[in-house]
Amino acid sequence: MPKSFFIDTSKCTACRGCQLACKEWNALDANATKQVGTHQNPPDLNANNYKLVRFNEHVIDGKVRWFFFPDQCRHCLTPPCKIVADSIKEGAITQDEKTGAVLFTAETKGLTKDDFQSIRESCPYDIPRRNEATGLMAKCTMCFERITNGMLPACVKVCPTGTMNFGEREAMLELANKRLAEVKKTFPRASLANPDDVSVIFLLQDDPKYYHSSAVAEAPAPLDRKAFLAKLVGPFGRLARELS
């Protein structure tokens, strides 16, 4: 049964419990950071942060609005990263059939910097990162060991407000649609971010651009592998098509 997250940003208080729990569970090292004039820290996703709460503030219609976006891999139903990786090295990126989890394996170590760059560029949400020291690629694992042992992902487990939810895809979609209808009463521009294409469904109260440049995929995500490869342009696209 495919699993999904439902991330209800209308309830998020940016306490960063998810960000910290992710680091703790995955035993990721702390980065040396600086205060540069924002609470968002570290500044971006990196090999030691699979989950990052993004803070963005705006004045809209004369009112201060502060948007929190607990960013992470969307575990796409048809993951472009995997399609590209498969064309370079089969097994570097896998997708678990049962849960839908998209996983970067130890095989990613064999990918070059350029390979990684191509994979990163294929991601509409700009998620993949690379540990330059080990060569391994890194991102959210859906807490694969936890969920396959009957536990919630660490980020969901610690969330105090009900922002982070995890369960059967159907149940999550139902919850997402129910909440969307509710939130729309107050925020008519509210939407779900690419709910049909991803396993990590964000509810956004307002225009996605306020949250993060890659909050939603710019173009609708490809329907299948073939369609995706057809879309790729340039030398890499040609290569990918030849290999397919």
Binding site: K11, C12, T13, A14, C15, R16, G17, Q19, L20, K23, E24, D29, A30, N31, A32, T33, K34, Q35, V36, G37, T38, H39, N41, P42, E57, H58, V59, V64, R65, W66, F67, F68, P160, T161, G162, E182
Partner: protein, 807 residues
Amino acid sequence: MTQHWIDIKNADVVLIIGSNAAEHHPISFRWVTKAKDNGAVVIHVDPKFSRTSARADIHAHLRPGTDIAFMGGLIHYVLSNKKYFKEYVDAYTNAAHLVGEKYAFNDGLFSGWNADKRAYDRSQWAFELDENKQVKKDPTYKNPRCVINLLEKHYERYNLKNVATTTGIPEKELEVIYGHYASTGIRDRAGTIMYALGWTQHTYGVQIIRTSGILQLLLGNIGVAGGGVNALRGEPNVQGSTDHCLLYHILPGYNPMPFSTQPTLADYNKANTPLATDPKSANWWGNRPKYMASMLKAWFGDAATPESDFGYGWLPKADPSDDFSYMYMFDRAYKGQMKGGFILGLNPAQSVPNSNKVRKALDNFDWLIMMELHHSETTDNWRRPGVDPKKVKTECFLVPSAHRLEREGTISNSGRWQMWHNKAIQEPKGVKSFGDFHVELMNKVIELYKKDGGTLPEPIVNLDWPQKFDADTQAKKNNGYYTKDVTVKDKQFKKGQLIAGFANLADDGSTASANWLYCGGYVEDGKPLYKRRDLTQTAEQAAIGLFPNFSWCWPVNRRILYNRAGVDPDGNPWNPAKMVIAWKDGKWVGDVPDGAWPPMSQEGGKNPFIMTQSGMSQLYGPGRLDGPFPEHYEPVETPITQHPFSKQLSSPVYKFFDSDLDKLAKPADAAFPIVLTTYSMTEHWCGGGETRNVPNLLEAEPQLYVEMSQELAKEKGIKNGDGVIVESIRGRVEAIAMVTVRMKPLTVQGKTVHVVGMPFCFGWTTKGCGDSTNRLTVGVGDPNTSIPEYKACLVNVKKADKLTELA
């Protein structure tokens, strides 16, 4: 809290003021969110637009320290628009009580003011009593000396215009907020107030909290589900520490500190045991002698006898004018009046205001024993930046302390729930818990006194002291047990048997209980109620999220205090859909009622506010040092020179110090034109001594910042992320500018006032993160509690040429 965390979900309007609940009590937002899901309006009133504001329906920028103006305006709005819950006010408040003729209020000062003593003669504020010492009343409210009439008159000045020009919140915004909150003054609506240190840390903190009591009583929001006055207490276990008297002014269970003017237990009891001023008053503090005798029995065991006055004479006594709170303590240390001491689990060199003074004061100690998880600004004060360690005379001992995950015991959460926590991991070798440390140390002292004697050995050698610390045994002692076989009303109790509840405590030495409030939580050997995790509840309890079988709460497992005010005088809940208790078939159902007496209208019924002398709640409260009604005063350091609607600028009775380092900026000081407010943050705990040593937390919040508006930044030529210097008359701090739309300039008395905000969790022992913000803050305090005014002082800000603390 009068309520508990879950109960917040029952509110129709949530007013968060003096608190940044989402950031500092993240779990509270689980329930705020549920209230919102149920349609509640969430309002946040705070100097800063924070993560709490982001999830609120309405946020208003309040100038730091003007909370009484804001709340007084709300009280005025409720009274002048007749929005109060009249049946409730009539039945359960002292609205009809007559205040004596000597009470008056003139232009910022109450009657009884003595300028020489800088104090009030509070006897002038007394109620009018009849020949039987019962308070006089006029239920028709025609008598102008009725509390309700004096209240209305007092807050007449708090009109929208005056409040707006004081707080900086525009009149239109005030009206919207007031309208929402006042809508709860009816039977089936409830509003809750959530506050924290943003309310307490002022030179009139107690009076700010009094405003919420007054407001909630006017609206009938006390004793009902979704109402209450809710002080948010958190991980520092403030609830448990006040219950068990961490501070000097009380003994366990909120019994006052004995004074030198009370040499015997009889004197103490006479001074502290009130008499009922109403025939229907339960006057619960009338039981004080039983609680004191039982506490002394728990402390001194067999040595506590009627002949030894239960050991009362062995207790230290304070002079009534003494103040042993920490600002006074460090003032004494600064003046060289202290030789040494213990500092356990506290980081005063970082967390006490005007910390430059504190740091110097610590240098005056000959010896210090400190117990910490990590090196802190206090433990390492002798080698702080700019100081030559060779010139510091203090001999320092640092004892490694067990982390709370390395020990077991109970904590008391904000809802007064006593909860057991297990030890999660074994502490490293040589590391001690506070309990182990204390018990072992005291046993050594007892041994020395027994061997060598000494001056006044009795308080030490007579202690009923364990050989080893055991949290469970101590919890049992807090609950209490019979000290001999007794028969009470034909019932027999054996020596050592645990006591069922504080109603069974006696003043004759037959019972021992170290804290009467906790009596009833541990009534059967090996089965403490606080270990319960049973979710069973009735349908009525389920409707309001009340879990009577999960843990245990004081008093007597009553989850919502004053709940007998949540029903009408016949015992019917004001709001049946969210009933807390109800009188059905001759008994109370729902929560544990505030006393088992029948409803008010029936014979034997008692007034619901059982801890007051009259049994009525106190719209007018003559017990505080600074007045029976809260009055707006400016912070000691204020950006204005004239009180907007009286002649008294600041509190006439605030506490202050006269040392050379206790400098104050003058009102509207041109050198320090900006208001600074200080706060905690989600990612670091209090002064940061623990969390700065957790790399992942330091990653998320690595360095000291100062939040400021774009307008101020422009004025000062500062860009987001620039290093800046923040200066007050007392100190200088480096910080990174966080220029944000979330801070905004306020219009106060027609002029622009800038506000900046800083966290206080960064200290020099964590390299490059900055150093104590409290080098800026001001050492002045509330007259009732001596809590410092951390929330408002005056500073200036400039761009830094060079950074050293943040390098």
